[in-house]
């Protein structure tokens, strides 16, 4: 039968406690096609792929490979059926070399006892040449840039003779140019007969590369189409189930004085990926400055330095002309800085604490929350109740612990805490990562409202669309330096993309 799909799922259903992740999912992948599965965070896309790869077991439903019923209960089964997976967070052992990572689990041996590195190296070089995936087999993975690590992941799958390749959010960590590179590789693989499924939430990419598109929402497949017959607005509508504002509604900015000033900031990181070189930044009140850049170009370290979580080696940070000592988050808070951190579980919240405690996390030592070192539980509770209402945090009570809230509500708790103070500067780092569309819209509205209220807002995001949608001015970071700062109104997405990839300012901007 010519049209037998290489991979098919029938009625796959999977439940997690409290969540129906996949509900009767039917999908088909044909030979030599690139199929995109589109959906917002939490739609169930990754769950489906993990089931296909054998990392999860479905509650019901079947998987068919080339028309044959093929139960897959662990990754070994999947690999045997020719399925390879590239995960969103790479499954590479950082201290191992490229070679060791590729052969792990399918080791090349001599005499069946010892690893045969020479033979393995040869096989890898051959493979990498035939697919145009250039790597150095003996390089240590943790030293490699993200784009190269991804190549290693793909090689891992090809090494095991995969002819079905699953890619989970492959472009999340790539520059627009690296993304183009990846798409080139995907097209070449398609020529060689490899069938590809990839997950994304980026509408533009889907229209660019996919042969066919499946849209998932709340665990179900809600639509199927091809790029020629759809557009971004349609797709967004299918993803969310209603009209989606693709642009943030805002009026032009009226910037005032410089509030946050960063001068010559330098952080000597342990590797080039973690270094900040001589960064100068200014944010005025009443404006939003967006910091664009692919993850891993020093943004995390820069923000940590500005917010007092990391020592810096040179430079100064000023709020309202006042120099702030380094490495001192409390001084920043007391001078009017609010920080919505990149990793809300690591920095932003203490998950086992109740909301009452989380909401006074930065101010517990001040009156009225405590006096002479002794806490005032009454005022702490009142504060929590009031903030929960003001910021619409969905929770049955202020005594619920933070771990039991959804991602969106957790972020709201952080926002509530930070923005309930008198703030002059707001630093929002990846503020909508991992959130559903409703929460994303809420956070964007809140940031614009802050800006209109006169605060100076610095938004750092790896999502270019978010930066373009929110910012009045955009600064681009590449390899630890600010390579350009431009007015949002007078630039284009392509220009920013090029700057993010390291193109020189002079060649990009007129």
């Amino acid at each position: 039968m010519e049209n037998t799909p290489v991979l098919e799922t029938r009625n796959i259903t999977k439940r997690f406690p409290g969540v129906l992740a996949n509900s009767n999912v039917n999908m088909q992948l044909h030979k030599g096609e690139i199929l995109a599965i589109l959906g917002e965070n939490g739609a169930g896309k990754t769950t489906l792929l993990n089931i296909i790869y054998g990392l999860y077991a479905q509650d019901s439903g079947d998987i068919y490979i080339n028309g044959k019923l093929s139960p897959i209960t662990n990754p070994n089964d999947a690999i045997k059926h020719g399925i390879g997976m590239v995960h969103q967070h790479f499954m590479l052992v950082p201290v191992f070399s490229v070679l060791e990572n590729i052969i792990l689990g399918s080791e090349v041996t001599k005499n069946g006892i010892f690893i045969d590195r020479k033979k393995a190296r040869k096989q890898i070089v051959n493979l990498s040449n035939s697919f145009g995936l250039k790597v150095d087999p003996d390089a240590i993975v943790e030293d490699l840039p993200v784009g190269v690590q991804q190549r290693v992941e793909i090689l891992k799958a090809l090494f095991r003779h995969a002819n079905i390749l699953i890619l989970d959010e492959p472009t999340a960590v790539l520059t627009p140019q690296e993304t183009d590179d990846l798409f080139r590789i995907m097209r070449q693989l398609r020529e060689e007969g490899v069938s590809i499924v990839f997950i994304t939430h980026k509408l533009k990419e889907v229209l660019d590369i996919a042969d066919r598109i499946i849209v998932m929402r709340r665990g179900e497949v809600v639509g199927e189409t091809v790029p020629a017959q759809t557009n971004e607005a349609d797709l967004a509508n299918m993803m969310v189930g209603r009209e989606v504002l693709l642009r943030v509604d805002r009026s032009p900015a009226h910037p005032g004085n410089v509030v946050l000033k960063v001068v010559h900031l330098t952080v000597k990181g342990q590797s080039q990926m973690h270094t900040v070189h001589n960064v100068d930044l200014e944010v005025c009140n009443g404006e939003i400055l967006g910091l664009a850049g692919v993850q891993g170009n020093g943004q995390t370290e820069l923000v940590e330095a500005i917010t007092g979580l990391r020592k810096y080696d040179e430079g100064e940070v000023y709020i309202d002309e006042k120099p702030i000592p380094a490495n001192n988050p409390r001084a920043l808070v007391e001078n009017g800085m609010a920080h919505i951190p990149e990793d809300r579980h690591k920095h932003g919240l203490v998950l086992p604490y109740q909301l009452t405690d989380n909401l006074v996390l930065c101010t517990y030592y001040q009156e009225p929350f405590s006096k002479h070192g002794i806490r005032n539980e009454q005022t702490i509770l009142e504060n929590a109740s009031s903030l929960i209402e003001r910021f619409d945090v969905r929770t049955p009570s202020p005594f619920v612990i933070a771990a039991n809230l959804s991602g969106g509500n957790q972020q709201k708790v952080i926002v509530a805490r930070e923005l309930s103070r008198q703030v002059a500067v707001v630093i929002a780092n990846q503020p909508t990562r991992g959130l559903d569309v409703g929460s994303i819209e809420y956070i964007h509205r809140t940031l614009v409202k802050l800006r209109d209220g006169g605060a100076a807002v610095l938004v750092v995001s790896a999502e270019l669309d978010e930066i373009i949608g929110l910012s009045d001015r955009i600064a681009v970071m590449y390899r630890g330096k600010i390579v350009a700062t431009v007015d949002a109104a007078s630039t284009t997405r392509e220009e920013i993309g090029l700057l993010m990839a390291g193109a020189k300012k002079e060649t990009v901007l007129q």
């Binding site: 917010t307 007092g308 979580l309 001192n328 988050p329 409390r330 808070v333 920080h339 951190p341 690591k346 920095h347 932003g348 919240l349 203490v350 998950l351 086992p352 604490y353 405690d357 996390l361 930065c362 517990y364 030592y365 405590s370 070192g373 002794i374 806490r375 539980e377 049955p396 009570s397 005594f399 612990i401 771990a403 039991n404």
Partner: protein, 365 residues
């Protein structure tokens, strides 16, 4: 769905948390009974003797309380460190130093009014323990050296130091004395009794309540708990994580040191090596049995103290080697901490808030 009120929810959690240690103890006693049977001993007779030896008479009761008191302090020390995410196995060493310094202050200073002398010796013992807790705390904060190894090593160092002191410069100079021990402390440094109850025991209870208050109602306690649950968020919140960890170890050491001082001034009236070995691990059992709650430490210590107090009688009456206590203790520790088994038995799920978060690796990352 209507959410239960916070009060009844808390009550339910409290009862579940209480039943876990209780069931753990019962299970441990059952297995201990099996071991006893295997050596031909009647477990009921043995346990009966144990109970009698612990509570059967005012003297026995006093002995139980005497054994309990240092366990309360050791348990408090370990529990306090746990709150900061630190594993203080060094209570043994901190306690020894506290004991010997207290003895020194007790016999070398003469002519002080009793209240003052008791206070000075206690404070000295506490400070000695505090300093000894400072070392692993500082090493942990500033070099990343895991406190499990450093405190265990320091225990052995403390044994050597106190051996030396009690056999050398501070040895009892009386002509009739040949063993390694200090001389008796002055009357004015001794802690009195109220009936069979050592005042040290009362002091332990008071300090437990004080520690409970510090941990749950003060800013310092909030900071310590935050560092223990999420040191990154603690930094974000402006807390000085490193200093807090050091402070937690200092306080922990202080508590253990006071424990040693109380033993010296309340029971033995001198320093003699060889008393209460293994207290470091006992402290861990007490702390975990009490769910790292300073108030929970009291009944936990009482249980262990009763077992130790009654063990001699059990050994005598029922002919059972008293080390069976250690085996039962290990079993209790096992069941309490592997509470998943018990929770599965009573079908209760563990809440995130009940987790004791401890560091798990050797640091220096």
């Amino acid at each position: 769905m209507a959410e239960e009120s916070p009060v009844s929810n808390k009550l339910k959690r409290f009862l579940v948390n209480l039943s876990v240690p209780v069931i753990a103890i019962i299970l441990a006693l059952i297995i201990g009974a099996i071991i006893l049977l295997s050596t031909g001993v009647n477990p009921l007779k043995a346990y009966g003797a144990l109970l009698r030896g612990a509570f059967g008479s005012p003297i026995y009761f006093q002995r139980t309380l005497e054994k309990t008191t240092p366990l309360i302090f050791s348990g408090l020390a370990v529990a306090f460190a746990f709150k900061a995410g630190l594993f203080n196995i060094g209570a043994q060493g901190q306690l020894l130093l506290g004991a010997i310094i207290s003895a020194f202050l007790g016999f070398s200073i003469k002519g002080l009014p009793p209240a003052l002398h008791v206070f000075i010796a206690l404070a000295g013992g506490g400070l000695a323990g505090a300093m000894y807790g400072f070392i692993p705390g500082a090493l942990r904060s500033f070099t990343g050296a895991h406190e499990v190894i450093t405190t265990i090593m320091l225990n052995y160092v403390a044994i050597n130091i106190t051996d030396y002191l009690s056999d050398g410069p501070w040895k009892d100079p009386a002509p009739s004395n040949i063993v390694a021990r200090t001389q008796l402390i002055e009357e004015s440094a001794r802690i009195p009794f109220i009936g069979p109850v050592p005042v040290g025991f009362i002091l332990a209870i008071l300090i437990s309540v004080l520690i409970w208050f510090v941990i749950n109602r003060t800013n310092l306690g909030f900071e310590i708990r935050t560092v223990g649950l999420n040191s990154h968020a603690a930094r974000y919140a402006g807390m000085k994580s490193k200093l807090i960890m050091v402070l937690a170890m200092v306080i922990s050491g202080f508590l253990a040191g006071i424990g040693g001082a109380v033993e010296t001034q309340g029971i033995v009236y001198r320093f003699q090596p060889g008393f209460n070995t293994g207290l470091g691990f006992d402290g861990i059992t007490v702390a975990l049995l009490g769910r790292t709650n300073p108030l929970g430490v009291i009944p936990a210590a009482l249980l262990l103290g009763a077992m130790k107090g009654g063990a001699n009688v059990m050994q005598f009456d029922a002919r059972v080697a008293k080390e069976i206590i250690d085996v039962i203790q290990a079993l209790i520790l096992f069941f309490v901490t592997a509470d998943m088994i018990i929770r599965w038995m009573i079908k209760a799920r563990r809440g995130v808030e009940d987790e004791v978060t401890l560091t798990t690796s050797w640091g220096q990352k």
